[in-house]
Symmetry: C2
Subunit: 437 residues, 2 copies
Amino acid sequence: MSHYKKVIQDYISNHKDKTVDLLKQLVMENSVSGNESKAQAIVLEKLRELDLDLDVWEPDLKEMKEHPYFISTRDSFTGSPNIVATLKGTSGGKSMILNGHIDVVPEGNIQQWTYAPYSATVVDNKLYGRGATDMKGGNVALILAIEAIKRSGITLKGNVYFQSVIEEESGGAGTLATILRGYSADGVIIPEPTNMKFFIKQQGSMWFRLKVKGKVAHGGTRYEGVSAIEKSVLIIQQIQKLEQLRNERIADPLYDGVPIPIPINIGTIHGGTWPSSVSDLVTLEGRFGVAPNERLEDAKIEFENWIDNIKNLDDWFVENPVEVEWFGARWVPGTVEADSELVQTLQQNYLETMKQNPVVEAAPWGTDGGLFTQILNIPMIVFGPGETKVAHYPDEFIDLDQMFLAAEIIACTLIDWCGVEGQQHEGEGAYENEKVL
Amino acid sequence: MSHYKKVIQDYISNHKDKTVDLLKQLVMENSVSGNESKAQAIVLEKLRELDLDLDVWEPDLKEMKEHPYFISTRDSFTGSPNIVATLKGTSGGKSMILNGHIDVVPEGNIQQWTYAPYSATVVDNKLYGRGATDMKGGNVALILAIEAIKRSGITLKGNVYFQSVIEEESGGAGTLATILRGYSADGVIIPEPTNMKFFIKQQGSMWFRLKVKGKVAHGGTRYEGVSAIEKSVLIIQQIQKLEQLRNERIADPLYDGVPIPIPINIGTIHGGTWPSSVSDLVTLEGRFGVAPNERLEDAKIEFENWIDNIKNLDDWFVENPVEVEWFGARWVPGTVEADSELVQTLQQNYLETMKQNPVVEAAPWGTDGGLFTQILNIPMIVFGPGETKVAHYPDEFIDLDQMFLAAEIIACTLIDWCGVEGQQHEGEGAYENEKVL
């Protein structure tokens, strides 16, 4: 075990309670889109204590609108600050972006929660609450990694940029804003909840809205109208067929065992105004999964054509085509090579901490990571504590031990990636040898 | 042509403009459930001019709740008065209830209206607006019929009760209140928009609400959840099968040519909270048609069992049964014999006015009429101006000529049914002969 690893381990081991307190504070602030400022204030206070260079700004929606990857349902980001904190390196090392989003999805039906979603209750070393795993636990792991390096007196050569961004859950406007502000680096780690797996490919996704038309009539003579609800059944079935077709094309062994690599999820349905009237409009909203190697534009065209083709199955749609709108959120797909230096460095540190190799998979969901690979063309990996499957669910939780392990692996990766000031170049060989257990 | 018919025709012919003004005033008042008082005030003013005995009251919800046929979504009828106006007969004649509802359904999507729904625009002798045909046009025909009799100096023997009731569109609490207040008669005419057909049987109906459950998951791993939207597709299909089964059983020749005699209309669907989450709840609301000779209770049981049976098609429903709730509105089915005196009297007057026999059909929708036949066991017929198919639609309208013809037929029917004071018994024979053209 390297000297540095031991130092980092000790630091983390001695600061668990304070770290859990930070996570509790963050989870107790409901930071859904538009409501991020209080959670960001907590982050900021912590970053100030660490004496990092801080850049806090509200993204300018007007400026951002010009970018082809910009998407948001919002009219303004006033009151929703982005934060980038820089741990300055001395020079000569590779730089790293550590990116995590502060926004959470709504808690849903509160009655399905065992513990109140913003209570941050800890039971059996698990902290429960909306955002615990997606992804405030990951963010806290990042902060702890930087804290451990800084407080242990380790000086890195390359810069580390910690980014606490808004709007990931709605399409990535926060991360896009960091890129447009000029932030870049030699690598990116995003600790979304992979349950400590390495997600080296990630699905993109886009939100769609479909308007299915009908013709109003009194329910007692419903045959004089056309039910938009019945027509929606055809649309749902058509979408199910497309999902099957698109997933049959996925040959990447990384997706072996994944039932639906790139799902099309219809998340909401709303139609009709009166029980005894035939409804003339149903609106469906959903998430369209995009393969890691697929262009968003191609995926859109396939979906639109498929929906349009329903007119060949039902004449109604000839005169009354379904309206397709892409709205709200969009995540760019992304990939990184398994043999890239970023993946290899993280893997080496994973092995040292976990005494086994990581599971490498393709992500079943998009993150802001695609923006880094598509716009900046820099390697990016998604790796973090917490189980994917509790994200967006009631009783979302994070395993606190996993959070500490992730912090350790990321801190040691930063040390290797960015390099340590004061260490002789010749000494590096010894250090490298030392690292092998 | 009888002396009286000529008198009535002349009166109506000379009072068309004033009558259309009354209808305009009524249509311009949006009298959806809970908002009936201004429209009732207009009715009341007119009835006062005619010097009828007036009974105006807000139904007592607490008292009414005891009645098995009571149904309403409301907490109170404060501000929603019922009106019964009595044209007192001298004695010795049969009495008649003329019943019409003042409430309307909401206007729906205002952009689908050519003329604003409360503008009461008249084009080509049609008056457009929400409630024009369902059923303010019918109500005005009733008022005009009474007015023509009264102003022409004709004194009836039997009482005529004009009822302007609330809550028909939500299940008949207004008409039920008149019955509980003690109103009854030897016959009932309800001028709902039959397009001048005789509806001697009428479908009952009930509103249902179904809650279809799913299991939440992130849309990117939607296979870890269960989509309540996909499960709702099965429920919709199951309901379509039941509708087919129930309608195959309808053998009554009155329903020949009606595509779906007793429809099951799913009018609203709402589910899901987020495009990229799997929805765990979908709520469906609709209208369940009940055959004229069917008991509401039997129909309910059939529906509930059918929905429950879906567990045999999909295991999900074993542990997650669909919740069935009956709510909001219910119309009792009703029938009257084609050879009853009420139908025959109306038919004779129809023939005299229209020079042809009426079309006799079964109603594709319920009215408050079922309450009269089921609770009071008195003959009731639905006959009125206006096309059924524009009720509850955008661009609802009434043909004003039809409204005047209906008023004439109903006025003459009242003269025959209630009898005229001062006419010699011997003279009646002459009068009867005179009627035959």
